[in-house]
Amino acid sequence: MNFSWLMPETVSTYGPTIDAVYYVILWITGIVFFATEITLLVFMVKYRHKEGRKAEYIHGSNKAEIIWTTIPFVIVMGLAFYSKGIWDEIRDPDLIPADAYTIQVIGQQFEWNATYSGADGQFGTADDFVSRNAIHIAVNQPVVVQLEALEVIHSFFLPEFRVKQDAVPGMITPVWFEATRTGEFTLACAELCGLGHYRMGGTVTVHSAAEFQNWLSEQQAAAGDD
């Protein structure tokens, strides 16, 4: 059994940044957790009922209230602004890399259909092709997925890439990421979308740049044969 609190491997450029925020929060909450729980235990033992002893008549302390209001406030506000920088980096629509390779992905019950623009780089033309439950991208190349859903909400989840974005019918949501190594990774649906939700999975294959071009050509040739 894996009781680990370490994040699993990440293969996107911003994955380590997200994990770093996680570890900062893990350290802070971990320290607070042990400090408070141990204090509780100590109090329970030390101040347990004894015959003849009277509790101390204390109504509180303004000094203590100020301390334990201010310190948590400063810490959580620090975390909030730390988070903001990273959130903007990942999600600000203006900060999506300009050279990102575009894929259209539509979630539908119960599969993910990725549309590639083909050789002309334009969507809605004859050389577009669709890859079902299998997304292929090139390593070290930013990718922007234009995410949509057909009938109900799905959630585009790439755990190794630290990507999760709901796909909403009637809305196109861009989500970008960049792979840092080649290999085959998980594509999952994270939003309850009906009885087949649990099997709405697929793969993300990260190729080298050359391999990716080969894959594109093969797919296009196959599509052209239809």
Binding site: M1, N2, F3, W5, P8, T17, I18, V21, Y22, I25, L26, I28, T29, V32, T36, E37, L40, F43, Y47, R48, K50, R53, A55, E56, Y57, I58, H59, G60, A64, W68, P72, V76, L79, A80, S83, K84, W87, I90, R91, D92, V152, I153, R162, V163, K164, Q165, D166, P169, G170, M171, T173, A188, A190, L192, C193, G194, L195, G196, H197, Y198
Partner: protein
Amino acid sequence: MSTTTATETHAGHAEGHHDLGFMRTYIFSTDHKMIARQFLFTALLFLALGGALAVMIRWQLGFPTRPLPLPIRGLFPDTMAPSGIILPEFYNSLVTMHATFMVFFALMPLMAGVFGNLLIPLQIGADDMAFPRINMLSFWITPVAGAIMLASFFVEGGAAGAGWTSYAPLSASGEWTGVYMGQILWLVSLIILGFSSITGALNYVTTVINMRAPGMTWFRIPLATWSLFVTAWLLLLAIPILTGGLILLLFDQTIGTAFFRPEGSGEPLLWQHIFWFFGHPEVYILILPAMGFVSEVIANRSRKPIFGYHSMVVAMVAIGFLGWIVWGHHMFQSGMNPLLGMTFVVTTVVIAVPSAIKTFNWMGTLWRGNIHMDTPLLHAVAFVALFIIGGLSGIFMASAPVDIYFHDTYFIVAHLHYVLVGGSLFGIFAGITYYYPKMFGRMMGEGLGKLHFGLSFVFYNMAFFPMHNLGVQGMMRRIYDPNQYAFLQGLQPMNTFISISVFLFAATQVLFAFNFLWSLKAGRVAGNNPWKSNTLLWTTPSPPPHGNFPEMPIVYRGPYEYSHPDRDEDFWPQDEPPVASGSGGQTAASPIPEPVPGD
């Protein structure tokens, strides 16, 4: 103002409270204490049902696609579990209905229905609620709504399966789930149930404002009543929003409107905004009352004034306000404009501050106390210990970038169960064991109570703590069979371990049920004030008669005057007249408001 009103109401109600007959005493009662007991029995039944559904969910996750164990294998028709194997669509119904019953039919009635009814009039020195008949209505709506919700299991297509959050468009048309009538019944049931909360809340707010005994100033009100007062405001303002949303969704389902369906230019995200605008105050509806009676228990059992009474009140009111402006943290990954993210990150982390204040004040109350380790105290301290975990794990998701990974994973499931089971449910155990003598006149068995506490605490943590680790590994929530994904297959042993722990936790609750029922007849007779408490509640006979107080109580001091140095007794009831002169610095026997000592 409140003084005269209260006095007149008292005189008015005191007549004709006897010999009401069986129906008026036990079934259609207007007595707030009887209504509290009715809510208690009803909600505990729904709690057991919700627990049974949880056990079935964990059966599927612990032993995927294995037939249910023999005794219950044959209970389910082929549309739910053919040959005992749970179907994916039935699994979705289980997940949806487990949460629905727990949130709306178990925790809400336990918090507001039981303790709101029992504690508010008795703690403020009122003879009953402001509107006793509306109060009766508030209870009787609950079983009606519950029956409709239960009936949805037996209609074609089965019970609702779109999650308790019922996200549109999945919930807006049976086309996507195969659930038509079940979803409609779900909506109708919750629309009806909403009126129970609204009428109850109206009563609580009015009663606290108008019916306090002479001398019961705002800052002499016990924290349990304060927490229920804040909760009542949240109910009064949040439930109509949910009801409005549910009606729109019902229209989408039944008469072809498109509020939330994109085909008619509706907005799926609008449902989420409405739902969570209700849903986040709802979270505090489910925990604030527990914070209230946990405060009573900790102060009383430590024989010490509550640490920072004013801070505790201000923190609850602050939570009540902040709860309205954090809903977007449920929607970071929803497709909501990402530029809104920061707003909700800030409001969300700020709400951690009043929660921290409350936690430190509970610890401050235990500090240098004289702690009596009775069952209520153990549950109350467990509440604090587990609420700390639930609060800290919330910080991960409050950080929008970390939430990208944790959203919709078991980390959330762990977090919410630490708040709602570790927090709310252990708080409820503290409340029930502490107030049981006032409700039924007898004490619950202490040995059995401690055994129930110990086993519950251990099995609870064995069941829910590892869910954090599942979340860290990326396991999504609400999936019927995690083994569909290669990256989750290694987690099966842990899922099996969690399931067995849940079964043990559920089995342990039989001890509680037995103790509860057995003590009704065989418990030690409690007397008026078994915990030597200060609040007005404990000056009445156990259980209190209709009309509560034989004479109008007069309040002279705050509710937490424990272990006062000038007194031999370690408690000082709120209504005990001060000695005329010479002792304790209290000289005038005047009900006129005066500051709480020590502030």
